[in-house]
Amino acid sequence: MTGEVFDGKKAEVMVKDLRASFKAGKTKPYEWRVSQLEGIVRMIMERETEIMEALQSDLAKPNMEAYLHEISLSKAACLFALKQLKGWIKPEKVVRASFTTFPSSAKIVPEPLGVVLIISAWNYPFSLLIDPAIGAIAAGNAVVVKPSEIAPATSAFFAEHLPEYVDNSCIKVVEGSIAETTALLEQKWDKIFYTGNGRVGRIVMAAAAKHLTPVALELGGKSPVIVDSNVNLKVAVKRMAVGKWGCNNGQACIAPDYIITTKSFAPKLVDALKSTLEEFYGEDPLESADLSRIVSFSHFKRLTELLDEENIPEKIVYGGERDEKHLKIAPTVLLDVPHDSLIMKDEIFGPLLPIITVEKLEDSFELINSRPKPLAAYLFSKNKKLEEDFVQKVSAGGILINDAALHVTNPHLPFGGVGDSGTGAYHGKFSFDTFSHKKAVLSRGYATEMRIRARYPPYTYHKQILLRRVIDGSFIALFLGLFGLHRD
């Protein structure tokens, strides 16, 4: 913005300043945290139109989606944190300290980690920055946020407006791309929260390792959807469709990536998808205002290459249209693509939905488990046994039965990945926890120091017996032992 390069030196100075602010105790008081969160709420309310415009500019995001997924979710997260904050900050009394350490009292005191770095992604450029920031601030940290350069309008919005609403000595925005991110990653942070892809996730974790910095990585994966034949097909397909194309036109980490269904049911499913898609986006989806565009030319190219791979075009059963000038790709459904095709290799992150067919649905579990663990896994079925098997056998960041994408809106559920889809969780109190250290505080007195002092050398046989009693937690045996009466 100023034309100066944000390099390692600048990053170092910034971190140093933030650390000084943190050490001075600026971010710790409850009042400070509340005022920052209230500032963010004000920003969202006062600048709603500008935010929507930025999202429209970056992604052609329909206003409805911008409202649903970004503005209202962020605002709700802020309000939730404001409401719960007092309870979150309060130390938690540990009811049963331990017989062995009796008498003692224990509590767990949450404390901020210090100075944290949040790197967010381009697909939900507003909420993926604000959401973790809410947790970091609620937990009492100083924060640097680095919005994605692939969503430049939103990034510029943050750089210009966030400082107007929050305490700049403790919360900073750094714009930029690889050079600036590298400069930031060279510094010592107390936590790094990264949302994005696995390739960069590895770079972030390796950089963090140099300073022994803990990380939370919100990555992605191929979120599968298993569709059974016994469902209310119309409703199921609508939910799948809005979870896929209603979320940034498939460019969402929890969007259904591919469908698995039985060979016999597939034709019905395809028909239902076709009619639902037409209902949602009309006969000419490229003209629909309700679909986001593809974020950039390189992603557009990546997606069209998936469609143009040998033997793939004939698998398209719906859609496939594209508009390179406006970076638009129509919702596209494919049937029976080869399991080793490009479209089945990596996370699609776009409006392409392959359907894989199997003989029976139980076979799909192995298919899913043979691949890296996804961020979400979906099942549409009324079969309770299948549902239970699915929950037990499929490992994913989150499981949703009979719907898609919705589970991320609940602040009482942890949102995060496992395996290749990431580590760490957030949303609601989980955001607060992810940016806190839970410090155990154990207190004893001197009153009941046992005369026999079995803990201390010189060690005798009698002391050993007593120790066994104490460690076993047996009152009676201990009592007897104290008086030199042995049971064994």
Binding site: M64, R202, A209, L212, A440, L442, Y456, P457
Partner: protein, 497 residues
């Protein structure tokens, strides 16, 4: 370096990379078969572990004596007994830990059901340290097993008798298809780190911790690092002489009583007001005499390398000059006398690096409250000990300093308390364990939301219009009344949130 694997009773075969990979592959196959997930398997493993701990007690005392010179009482108190307690606790609560946790949902979500279901991560790797070679190997293993994982344990090669014992004994009691022990040194560790794990649990030094985390980054493997640090003890004036005595005994126990100072949560140095230093010193000397009339009772320094490292700490002239008690050494027996120093220079290595040995620096301050400022200027340790009755000072320590844990008026006991999390922060590491925290450490807490087809909200779907937007605004504010009005067309829907 002898590289042996599970099942080879004292075999001297060289495993090589391929051998190692196939051992790990077997653990993975076992995990993928689903064998380790059921309650019965986990319970039977924990019960077998308990049997191992009780039946092989004498063997365990022997190897700890061989490796570290630990007296059997210390070995029981700190390792064997603690493990029995931990295993029994896990058995008692296993069903509870495994059961899903119901989560509340707003009315608009009715009739949705949501819960958090814990599931195992998969195949986990545990690296343990040499100072509590049994405890630090088996305590994480308890958590890994309770959480339903397959596990590979690489015990420290610096405690070779214990490593051999574990390699030999674990397959006799536990399911060797799922729980493996791989012995070896840094080379084996490197080979293991090249493979893909679902979690790595490391106890050791920050230097190696960096290596572990960097290797884990290649596979996006989550890690827990249990490191160390300079754990200070703040010694405030205590009025009653009985309290002073008890506190001193706890300090001596906290410094020299657990692996002779070679413990991550051992007291590294003392902070005391300068006018109390002489009293404290006399008390310490008295208790040392009482507790350690002869050095046979003490664990020894683990090996020549560490012995040399410790000697080097005293080579600095100013440091040597600050010795007020002890200082003598016996390189043949790897024995160093309990040594107390008074105000060694703060920039000497003895005050900048974790001592991990029997030297106790006492740093004096003008006022005891200065200890807070002193600690804030230094890296965060695993624990801060405060020997004080002053509630204000206690509050300041808790609120103004950072550490893995804080303990008032005692030392080391936090390790025995399975209801509080054990772990570091900052330079002392990240991730926590013990009790349920171990179970959680090795689990993926998976949210599961079950929706029904019963109630369908049509305004969720495109094509979008203003009315749908307003309906959703109402829902998001939980303004059900406004929502109904809007739905029925009784309310004008064109205001902003």
């Amino acid at each position: 370096m002898v590289l042996t694997t599970t099942g080879n009773k004292g075999g001297d075969e060289e495993m090589g990379v391929l051998g190692l990979e196939s051992v790990v592959a077997e653990a993975r196959t076992t995990f993928e078969s689903g064998k380790t997930r059921g309650f019965d398997w986990r319970q039977s493993q924990l019960k077998s572990l308990l049997r191992l701990l009780k039946e092989r007690e004498d063997d365990m005392f022997k190897v700890l004596k061989d490796d570290l010179g630990k007296h059997r009482v210390e070995a029981f108190r700190d390792e064997v007994g603690a493990l029995v307690k931990s295993t029994e606790n896990a058995l008692l609560y296993l069903k509870n830990w495994m059961s899903p946790e119901r989560v509340s949902l707003p009315l608009v979500a009715f009739p949705t059901v949501a819960e958090i279901v814990p599931e195992p991560l998969g195949v986990v790797l545990v690296f343990s340290s040499w100072n509590f070679p049994l405890g630090l190997s088996l305590e994480p293993l308890i958590g890994a097993i309770a959480a339903g994982n397959a596990a590979v344990l690489k015990p420290s090669e610096l405690a070779p008798a214990t490593s051999e014992f574990l390699s030999d004994t674990i397959p006799k009691y536990l399911d060797y298809e799922a729980i493996k022990v791989i012995q070896g040194g840094p080379q084996v560790a490197e080979q293991l780190l090249d493979l893909k794990w679902d979690k790595i649990f490391f106890t050791g030094s920050p230097k190696v911790g960096r290596i572990v985390m960097t290797a884990a980054a290649k596979h996006l493997t989550p890690v827990t690092l249990e490191l160390g640090g300079k754990c200070p003890a703040i010694f405030d004036s205590l009025k009653s002489s009985r309290d002073k005595m008890v506190a001193t005994e706890r300090i001596v126990g906290g410094k020299w009583g657990a692996c002779y100072g070679q413990a991550c949560i051992g007291i590294d140095y003392l902070l005391v007001e300068e006018k109390y230093a002489p009293i404290l010193l006399e008390l310490l000397k008295g208790v040392l005499q009482k507790f350690f009339p002869n050095f046979e009772l003490m664990a020894r320094i683990v090996n020549k390398h560490h012995f040399q490292r410790l000697c080097n700490l005293l080579k600095n002239e100013s440091v040597a000059a600050s010795i007020v008690h002890g200082g003598s050494m016996n390189p043949d027996k790897l024995f160093i006398e309990p040594t107390i120093l008074l105000n060694p220079p703060l920039d000497a290595e003895i005050m900048t690096e974790e001592i991990f040995g029997p030297f106790l620096p006492i740093i004096t301050l003008k006022k005891i409250e200065d200890s807070v400022k002193f600690l804030r200027a230094r890296p965060t340790p695993l624990v801060i000990y405060g020997f004080t009755h002053d509630e204000k000072l206690k509050r300041r320590i808790v609120e103004e300093t950072s550490s893995g844990c804080v303990v008032f008026n005692d030392a080391l006991i936090q390790y025995m308390c399975e209801t509080i999390p054990f772990g570091g922060v900052g330079q002392s590491g990240f991730g926590q364990y013990h009790g349920k925290f171990s179970f959680d450490n090795f689990s993926n807490r998976k949210p599961v939301v079950r929706r029904s087809f019963l109630i369908e909200l049509s305004f969720r779907y495109p094509p979008w219009n203003e009315k749908k937007l307003q309906l959703i605004r109402h829902i998001y504010c939980y303004d059900y009344f406004g929502f109904v009005l809007c739905l029925l067309g009784l309310k004008r829907c064109n205001y902003r949130s």
